[in-house]
Every structure is written in C-alpha cells, then in structure tokens.
Amino acid sequence: MSSPVLQVRDLRVTFRSEGGDVKAVRGISYELARREVLGIVGESGSGKSASALAVMGLLPETARVEGSALLDGEELIGRGDRELARLRGRRIAMIFQDPLSALTPVYSIGYQLAEAVRVHRDVSADEARRRAMELLELVGIPRAGQRASAFPHEFSGGMRQRVLIAMAIANDPDVIVADEPTTALDVTIQAQILDVLRTAREATGAAILMITHDLGVIAGLADRVAVMYAGRLVETGTVDDVYGRPRMPYTLGLLGAIPRVDESGRGPLVPIEGAPPSLVDLPPGCPFAPRCPLVYDRCLEVEPALLAIGEAGQRAACHRSSVIEEGDLRPVDVFPLPPSTSPARTHDRRAQRPVVLAAEDLVRHHPVLRGAVFKRQVGTVRAVDGISFEIREGETLGLVGESGCGKTTALLEVLELRPPQGGRVVVLGRDVAQLDARERRALRRDVQVVFQDPLASLDPRLPVSDVLAEPLRTHRFPAGRTSARVRELLELVGLAPGHAARYPQQFSGGQRQRIAIARALALEPKLLVLDEPVSALDVSIRAGVINLLEGLRARLGLSYLFVAHDLSVVRHIADRVAVMYLGRLAETGDVQRVYDAPAHPYTQALLSAVPIPDPTLERERRRIILEGDPPSPADPPSGCRFRTRCPKFAALDDDLRGRCIEEDPALAAVTEDQHAACHYAEPMHVV
C-alpha cells in the first residue's frame, strides 16, 4: 500500500455539557489509502460523525479536539479556520446527510456549484459555469444546462444529493467525507446515489470516508470497514473479514440484528440487550461489557485495546476475541435468542380465518388550492387512488413503498374509521360508512396505532402511567383496576413496572417505542396499525422491538397492518406484502413469493436496490437502477403509472409500449397467491 492520504492518530473529541464532559470520541486511529473507501459504522451517539467533523475542522468552538490527523503529511488538527478553509473543498470535501440544508435556498444550483469551483481556483465566471455543467452531467443530472438555473427547492432529495456530490468533487479532492449520504433517501434513490458515488470516485480518484449506520450500504461500497462503539473503534478490517468473520461481540450482534431481504427465515433476530452507555461517566472496562453475553471479570476492569487478530490486518478490541476466533462463533452462538414464537401457517388455513380489515378501492384525493381570498382548485393530488387489500386474523400485511407513494395516507384513512372519499373500508366485518358516532368509538377499541417516532407519539407532559391509562379511561375501564393494568402492560412489553412514574423523555428510543406499543395494546385490540414502528430506532434496539412485535402477535392473536419503507424488515415480519407506487398497488401477495420472484418491474427494482450486509453477495448482485424520481401524484402519467421509470417499458418496442401508455393495468394474478399490476408481468429472481 502506498502512503496513506489521510492518517488519523489518537483522535479525541470532548464536548462540554452541564452534566460533565461528554467524551464523544475517545482516541481513534485509522488510515485511509488513496482511492480507498473506508466505511465507519456505528449507531447514533457512537461518535462517528463527531470524528469526521473533527477531521474537517467543522466542530463548534466549544468542542475540544486532540490528537492528530495528517492529510498527505499535513496536520489538520489545531489549524486555524482560515487555513483549513483553503484545504476544505479543494483537498478534502464533505457530503452531508441533509442535502436541503446543505444548499443555500436563495441561489441557483448552477451558481452555487460555480462558486465552489471559483473559491479555490482562479478561473473566469464562464469557465466556472462550464465546469459546473460538466459536474452536473457527471453526477447524472439530465439537461444540466437548464437545471443549473433551478433553485434547491425545485430539486428532489436525490437530485440535491447529486448536486452535493458534484460540489464535493468540483476540485478533485483527495478525500471525500460522506456523512450518512443516503440515510434521508428512499431505497431506489439510495441505489442511484451510491452509483453516483462510485462514478465520482472513478472520476476523481479520491478516497472516500463513508460514515453510516447501515451495514448494508457499506458492504457494497467499502473496501475496509471500521465499527465504532461508545467513541472508540471496536473492530476494523476488510469488509470480507469483518462481515464474514467478526471477532467482536458488538459486530456480531449488529450483523445478527439486521433482518436481511434475502433471507426468508422467520426466526427471531439477535437482540442486543440494553442501550449504549452515557459518554459522560464511563465506568472502567469495556464499554460494551454491560450488554455483552461473553463478559467476564477482566472486561469490567480493563478496556481492551484494538489488537490485530488473524493475518489479514483485521483488528478487534475485545478480551474474548480469541474465544470467538477459536470457535468461529456466529451471532446466534454468542447472543441468547428469545424462543421462537411465530407459529407456522399454512395456506388453506388462511381462507378460513375471518377478515379483520378489508379495504376496497380506497380513494383519497387532496385538492390543490390556490388563491388567498377566493380559493380555487387547480389540481388534485391523488394520494391514494383505488387500492384494495385485506388482512385476516393473526396475519401481518406489510404495506411498502417509497416516500410519497401514499402509504401513510392509506393508513390514516383506515384509522379515521369514517366513510372514505371513494371505496369501502370494512373493519371486523363492519362497513365504517355505516357507523354512528357511538359505534365508531366502540370500534376504536379494536383498532390501535403505533407511530414511527416514539418521542412524538407520547405526550411529553404525561408520565408513563397516565400515557398507558389514557386508552383505559377513554373506554371506561374500571378505574380501580387501571393501576394494575398499567403495571401488567409495562411487563408485557419488557419494561419494569416501577418505571410508571417517569416521563417519556427519560427513556431511550427503544423503550419509548415499547411504551407506545403497550399503550396500543392496553385495550386488547384485534388490529394494530404500525406506521414505520422501527425505522427511527438503532439497529441493535430495532431487533428487540421486532422480536417483541412478533411475540405479541403470536401470543395475543393480533393482526398487523405494518407500513414501512424498509423491505428487509417487512420480509422478516410480514406474511403478506402490498407494494405501493404513486397511490396504487403495484404488487401484492404472499411475502415469500413476492420476494423470491417479484413480477412487477417496480418490485424488482425496489428489491434489487436494498443493500444486503454481505460484501461478496453485494458485489455480485445485479442491480436494477431506476431512472429519475417518482412523478408527482398530482399529475400521474397516463396508462401505467410506473412507465416513466420502468426498465421494462424502456426495453419494449413501440407496439407493445402502446398498451402501457393507454391502458391502466389492473392487479392480475401471476401465480397462485401473487398479483401484479403490469401488462407484461414476469416473475424474476432478484435477491
């Protein structure tokens, strides 16, 4: 290996806070070779972003940064802002997570790009503009000349992220730091952006420091990976080594905790108990020790150093890594699995079970109004435009789709229990259009909801006891037994009953979501509507909540409507899946069938875009990368809504295309329990 382009030695970052010094980064060292992609993986609060910002010199003044970071032999730490400003953008560039706040809203895209060029180079305005166009084309923005005069708000999230990448590579930097560049994006857009990042690396030869919480994203992109926990690196090595032979229990746990889109296993995921430690007062010893099943005396006394293990340069910070190496332990060997709780189901049983929720041709349109005094309707957003599905007792329907496809609108429409704009909603055999106010209230007992953000869905001013008592009081549960029921509920979701007097803020994210689930279960509902219940949670916490949901369903005989954008989670938890695109269902059916052989081109693209945390597989996979962004639901294309981005449509000849343009495809049976809305549906294996 040639000399590293970026060499970080014993980097420490400390933030001052009222509670004491927060040691966000506690001495990390790594090297980044030329043209190399190093992935830094960690959960929120592990210090991964702080370490990158420290290298860039972008931390606030109040943060104390120690250690050394050499960029081609030039020290970055401790340099003045003015000196660093000359390097930033030219030698070392950054791509941020939120592409909207990283662009100035009042200047055009082209101007901002040209500015990025002119800051570091003495070129004329014309030349800078020409360079800006080149860059926009390089990152795949069509009609660059026209789009350059657009403003950031006119671009979609994916487009903005492309612009940021263009800006980062504008001056051929040696190092690009990408901080969660795809976290805010949908999976098909994420696939596009990762592709652009690869192109950018080819074009500039820059090394990339990729920071993310998503093990799947790194697997396909990075050469080497470093896992961070509580401000330190706990394992480093090539992607193949770390993913194939993890030697640190935390890495093992992370790998075991993610549901995989290519695995149909219904067994429980590997949960990592507990939560990451507070970085204010770390006890001596290994910070992971309280959550580690392999812990022994020494782990509690001495914090392990990052030591070489094996031949290929893999390193792990664990006293027990030799034990793991000798036994070549897998996640399930290290972490005790909760007993499997999902009963096997067969097909003929499904038809016999009663229908809990049925939606027929559900429609929800929002008017687009204009004018201040006299509002007039100038258009219609077809958020949900005729979808049908049914959920039978004891099963989970996963409703998946990208943001803006109408899945949340559909869910809210069901929860309203009011006559929909069009179509029918039947809950437990009762058409909601025929309910009077009292019956509707009574029916609410049986339909409960869990929202995405557990902090937003719990009233910050109510202690947990009152949060859980609220549904009970509303439905006249005997007041004398409320207290007992609250304790029972807390135990049901794995929390201590003594926690009832605390406020939601005093719990971690996973615990809060458990409280939200407990509240939903208070009245023993039949149907639970889950709106992205785990997407706001960290990987290690997520597994525990998914296991809890699975266990509860089996124990209490619940049915779930599980709305999510994460296809891996849906494969793990759902029995049936419905894929939504622009207010319509593209494909529905049995989960295993749909995932094994999706028939609709959109489902195929979606599934092929999901990263798999397996580097070998990820390198060999063929990806279907969709062009562009989803059209606006206010103005959907004629005929098939997907045709503007459809790879299959693109490959058809004109005669066959005619049908896609003119005729709106209905859901048609492809196999026994799989329906796709495509004229040329054809099952294909993609994962």
Partner: protein, 311 residues
C-alpha cells in the same frame, strides 16, 4: 390556568389485590397531577413565593384589624407625618393613615390582579385551543370575534361604559379589564395548538377515541402551559397597572376607595420628599408581582418534565 379535574385518577389503590401484578408491586402508580404537585413542592423558591403571596393576602384582609385607623378616617393632628407608633406607615396630607390605605388598596389590587389574570388567560386558553384544535367554522367564528375585539379601542370603550358601573360592584371592572386582555394570547395559543394538533400523540389519542374536550385539556393545554403561565404572571401586573390608569382617569376604583395603583399614582410626585406615601404601596406591589412570578416559574417547571430535576 384552567386545570381539568382528574376524575379517573389512577392513584386509586387497586381494588383487587389478587393476581401477580398486584402482588409484585404494591406501590401506587402516581398520576400526572400528583407528580406535578410533588415536583412543585420540591422548588424552594416557588414555595417561598406561594408563602409570601399567602402572607400578603393575610396582611391585606386581616391587617386592617390590627391598625387603629380605618382607611376613611382622618387624623387631624397628623398631616404628612412619617411612620410612627400611631401611624405605622405615616399619614397623607389629609391625615389619612397610609397603613390602612395601603392595605385597603392591596385588597383591591390583589383581587383585581389575580382574578383578571386567571380570567384573561383562562379565556385565552379556552378560545385559542378550541379554535385551533377544531378548526373549520368554530375557528373562523372565534377568530373573527377575537379580531373584532382587537380593533376596538379598549380604553375608549371602558371609558364610555364606566358611568354605568358607578355604584355597582367593582368586580364588574375585573370582567371588563379581563375582557380586553386575552385576545393576543388567544391568537398565540391558537397558533401553537395548530402545530400540536398534528403531533402524533394527539393523533394517537384521537384514534383511541378520546373526545375533543379531553384531548384539549389533557394534551393541548398542558403543552402550552409554559406560555399560559408566563402570560398569567404578566397579566397580574398589567391588570394592576391598567386599573391604576383607569382610576387615574376616574373610571376605576373611585375615592374614597383606593387601590395600590391610585396610591402609587398619588404618591409618585412626593416620592422623594415624603417617601412613605410612595414607598409602602410600591414595595407591596413589587412583592405581589415577584411572588406571583415565582409561583408561576415553579408551576411551569413542575409541569415541564424536561426542566431541571426529574420527578
């Protein structure tokens, strides 16, 4: 601040002590208002503020019995004399006892200040939150009304109406002052409610079948409580000062009756030469406002679980 009575309090002991859950944990599960009370008690300053406020009330209503003079009496042997054993706070130029006057004024001002604050803020909270939460025509009608009141020159109206109050109870004055003090807060509360309405915990409560008034009282108002409490504490002093202004123009509390405001207004000109005329009523006014502020701060912190110590 309007506080809903918590009828189904979960502090009720479990009726059926059988079962594993009851046996496991016999400690009571505290309810929200129990916790708020506990957290309030823990704030020293707030408790001190409350004690001072109670003491001031006691002084205002019991103090006159201790003095030898009534506020209508005049001591023709002592004009403009400083504090002495006979006249604890001194006398005015007409020989009236300042101690008696101040206490009489404080009775008025305490009641006017607190009542106006409670009524104005309560009305603002109700109108604002219901308008914001329910939207539609309720919102429109209520907001039209608010805007109508906002464009009416309040002082002018009170001036025009005040001849009708003459001879009637001065409590009417409280209502009139309060009626012109709540509109801006109502608008702010409405704005905050609209953003709260979309919060998931409000949605969750709605999909649970919780009724609109309950949602407003249980989820909306406690979450705008910080604003309401600050507003109420400010309103106390604003009400006392408004009353002063009105009295000055001859609309409010009329002689021979007095209020703290009218006493301060009279005493201002001689604040340097005869400090007791100004000093005692002014000091008591400061004390009232200060203690109300301390209580308000304590209440706000007790209601807001994110502040300071945890419950």
């Amino acid at each position: 601040m309007s506080v809903p009575s918590d009828q189904f309090s979960s502090v009720l002991p479990s009726a059926e002590p059988t079962g594993a859950a009851a046996a496991l944990d016999e400690t009571r599960v505290p309810s929200r208002w129990g916790l708020v009370l506990k957290r309030f008690r823990r704030r020293r300053l707030a408790a001190a503020g409350l004690a001072v406020l109670v003491a001031l009330f006691a002084l205002a209503f019991l103090g006159p019995y201790l003095g030898h003079w009534s506020y209508t009496d005049h001591d023709f042997n002592a004009f403009l004399e400083g504090p002495s054993a006979a006249h604890w706070f001194g006398t005015t130029q007409t020989g009236a006892d300042v101690y008696a006057l101040t206490l009489r004024g404080m009775q008025k001002s305490l009641i006017i200040g607190l009542l106006v604050a409670v009524i104005a803020t309560g009305l603002a909270a109700l109108v604002g939150s219901f308008a914001g939460y329910m939207g539609g025509w309720v919102d429109r009608v209520l907001m039209w009304f608010v805007e109508l009141l906002l464009v009416i020159p309040a002082f002018l109206i009170i001036a025009i109406l005040s001849p009708n109050f003459r001879g009637r109870t001065w409590l009417l004055l409280v209502l009139v002052v309060a009626a012109f003090l709540w509109m801006v807060t109502a608008r702010i509360v409405r704005g905050m409610t609209i953003s709260l309405r979309e919060r998931e915990y409000v949605l969750a409560a709605r999909y649970m079948g919780v009724s609109t008034p309950t949602i407003v009282f249980r989820h909306i108002l406690p979450n705008v409580a910080s604003l309401l409490i600050i507003d109420a504490t400010i309103n106390v002093s604003v009400a006392i000062l408004t009353e002063t202004g009105l009295s000055f123009f001859g609309f409010g509390v009329q002689p021979p009756d007095v209020s703290l405001g009218s006493l301060i207004a009279d005493g201002t000109s001689s604040a340097v030469t005869y400090p007791w005329l100004f000093g005692f009523p002014a000091a008591l006014l400061v004390l009232i406002v200060l203690s109300v502020n301390l209580v308000g701060d304590g209440l706000r912190d007790a209601l807001d679980p994110t502040s300071g110590t945890t419950g």
